[in-house]
């Protein structure tokens, strides 16, 4: 017996906390200990109704983010209003309250004389978790009237229509504990605090007027519809943005009509539409427009050319051939134009070159004529010998012509020798102005005059009497850069036959080598040396040992001659070294 009693006690001990355990494990607990009070004493708060409830113990997975307070003046038969406070769960088992002022109730109901009904629910919008409504409490609170009775209505948690009402008279409830969160309700309350009992199928959530105003309901409905259509719990905006991968279908215009099923506990009168949306059926039309690039379809037309084309049309090339032909024609035309332009440009350039060359030649001829006239003014050979014109020369025999030329040459030399040194230098200046190589088109007499002057000024005795300026002029006509070379070449010419011959033939050879760049007396010396070596090889080893001075071995060479020798000797030596090197390499391998 004792054992049975102990067993029962154990069972009871285990069973009793079970509801509590279940209660602790609901997502959002229903508020405890709801009460209602009417203020009948305060001057400014007279007629205010304060609804008070106790927060949960906190053992819940989705604590309240706010509390919805529904109120009515007919026990939620026809009227159903709701407001929400701004604070959610804060302290376990603490009290929260909400004040309905008399003026507010008068605004809503038109009077304060009606019995005021209220109930509270805890909401967690984040987790879409909502508790059950508390039991309905009521109070009569006319202006200035004190609460006489407080009604407590117990309703089932599932429906408000099949409720069993038991009205009992209870003593006035003591004032609730002081609540720090009670704030005066502004008048009138903002409409977004009003809870509307619109239920979107598939969403376990209670909406407020704010949800209606900001489109939350529409978006939730869109989410439900899109989840059903595409498997994505997203709004239309998210769908349009591409957040959901949708297998595209040929949907051009799709009209989706969303019907909100009526699930309104209380019918709202039409005269308070501005406060509370009527729970009428809503239709949300959503158009999903997908812009897809439509494929371009080409109509294929087949026809027989023989039936269509006239006989004189022999062949119609296909499109590619036409394009190729057009491209080829354009290319050929472009190339031909380019070629033509290039040819024209070359032709123009050639013409320009020819014109420039002709101008230069004409200028040189003019200058040469001027030089010859100037030389004629200086060297007046006619005073010594009677010159014959071409017709008279044609009448002479060849021997007579040779004799005549030698006579003229001797006369020129004689005349030049008698000339003042200044006149000689003046002749050289005239020639230097146009360049000695440009005498190739000059008359033979002019060349002879210039040669006679060069021979005269390069004599050792005459070089010594030359001024610095005159020496520069002589060096210039001989192609020397150093004025000292004039004296050296004069000395060398007096000793060496090759150099004397080179000076004597300088003008003639220079005029013959008009195309050679920087042709000077050193080149003539080498030419003469080679010619004499070919004519007499032994002449190269005709050595006068008395004139050799080792310490002054190259003092009798002009700078131009040294450069010329250097240009030749150094490559020869290098070539010889390379040959020896290659020979040694061949032997070693």
């Amino acid at each position: 017996m004792l054992n049975k009693l102990l067993s029962l006690c154990g069972v009871m001990f285990l069973i009793i906390p079970y509801p509590l355990a279940l209660a602790d494990h609901v997502p959002t607990q229903t508020p405890y200990d709801i009460s209602i009070v009417c203020d009948s004493d305060g001057d400014t708060t007279k007629g205010n109704i304060t609804v008070t409830w106790q927060e949960s113990d906190g053992f819940e997975s989705s604590p309240p983010e706010r509390y919805a307070i529904a109120f009515s003046n007919d026990n939620f038969v026809e009227t159903n209003y709701a407001v929400a406070n701004s604070t959610g769960w804060e302290t376990a088992l603490s009290y929260k309250s909400y004040v309905f002022t008399a003026s507010y109730r008068e605004t809503i109901f038109g009077t304060t004389a009606d019995t005021f009904y209220a109930k509270v629910r805890a909401d967690n919008d984040t987790d879409a978790s909502y508790s059950e409504w508390t039991g309905v409490i009521s109070i009569d609170c006319n202006y200035g009237s004190t609460a006489t009775t407080t009604s407590s209505t117990t309703t089932s948690s599932t429906t408000t229509t099949s409720s069993t009402t038991t009205t009992t008279t209870v003593p006035p409830k003591p004032e609730p504990k002081p609540e720090p969160y009670v704030e005066p309700e502004p008048l009138p309350p903002p409409p977004e605090e009003i809870i509307v009992d619109i239920v979107v199928e598939g969403v376990n959530k209670t909406y407020t007027q704010a949800d209606v105003n900001d489109g939350t309901i529409e978006r939730d409905q869109e989410r439900i519809d899109n989840e059903a259509a595409y498997g994505c719990f997203m709004t239309d905006a998210q769908i349009d943005r591409g957040d959901c991968i949708i297998i595209k279908e040929e949907v051009i215009d799709e009209e989706i009509i969303i019907e909100d099923k009526e699930n309104v506990e209380i019918v709202i009168p039409e005269d308070v539409v501005e406060v509370f949306d009527t729970p009428e059926e809503k239709k949300v039309e959503i158009e999903i427009l997908e812009f897809e690039e439509q494929p371009i379809e080409f109509e294929v037309i087949e026809f027989d050319l023989e039936d269509v084309a006239p006989k004189d049309v022999v062949e119609i090339p296909i499109q590619d051939e036409i394009i190729e032909d057009i491209i080829q024609d354009e290319l050929d035309e472009t190339l031909s134009i380019d070629d033509k332009i290039t040819e024209d440009e070359i032709q123009v350039e050639n013409n320009d070159d020819k014109i420039i060359q002709e101008i230069v030649e004409s200028e040189e001829e003019i200058e040469l004529i001027e030089v010859e006239e100037a030389i004629k003014e200086i060297v007046k050979v006619e005073e010594i010998i009677e010159l014959k014109n071409q017709e008279e020369l044609n009448t002479l025999s060849q021997e007579e012509v040779v004799i005549y030329e030698e006579e003229v040459k001797a006369a020129i030399v004689e005349y030049v020798e008698d000339l003042d040194q200044e006149d000689q230098i003046e002749v050289i200046k005239e020639v230097t102005d146009i360049g000695i190589t440009n005498l190739d088109k000059a008359t033979k007499k002019t060349k002879q005059v210039v040669q006679a002057v060069v021979n005269e000024v390069t004599k050792v005795e005459n070089v010594e009497t030359l001024t610095e300026e005159q020496t520069e002029v002589v060096a210039d006509i001989l192609g020397f850069e150093e004025t000292e070379d004039v004296a050296i070449i004069a000395e060398a010419a007096s000793k060496e036959e090759n150099i004397a011959q080179a000076v004597d033939e300088y003008v003639e050879r220079a005029s013959d080598n008009a195309n050679v760049e920087n042709y000077n007396l050193s080149d003539v010396v080498v030419e003469i040396a080679v010619e004499n070596f070919i004519a007499d090889p032994i002449s190269i080893i005709q050595i006068d040992f008395n004139e050799i001075t080792i310490s002054n071995i190259s003092s009798d060479m002009t700078s131009s001659q040294k450069e010329k020798a250097q240009e030749v000797v150094v490559p020869v030596i290098l070539a010889r070294i390379a040959t020896i090197g290659s020979f040694i390499m061949r032997k070693s391998f």
Partner: protein, 60 residues
């Protein structure tokens, strides 16, 4: 004796031919030079060539 002289002449010609390019260079140098430089170059070339040919047996 004549054979030896003949063999030496042949050998000297062969050595001179071996020096063909060198001699060409030296001749060109002599032609481009003037005065003492030309004479010394020519003399040195000639002397060196003679020594070269006289020392064929010695160098071999």
């Amino acid at each position: 004796m004549i054979k030896k002289i003949f063999n030496y002449i042949v050998e000297a010609i062969k050595e001179t031919l071996n020096l063909s390019w060198t001699l060409v260079g030296l001749i060109i140098a002599c032609l481009t030079l003037t005065g003492q430089a030309q004479q010394i170059t020519a003399l040195a070339t000639l002397i060196t060539l003679i020594i070269w040919l006289l020392t064929i047996k010695f160098r071999s």
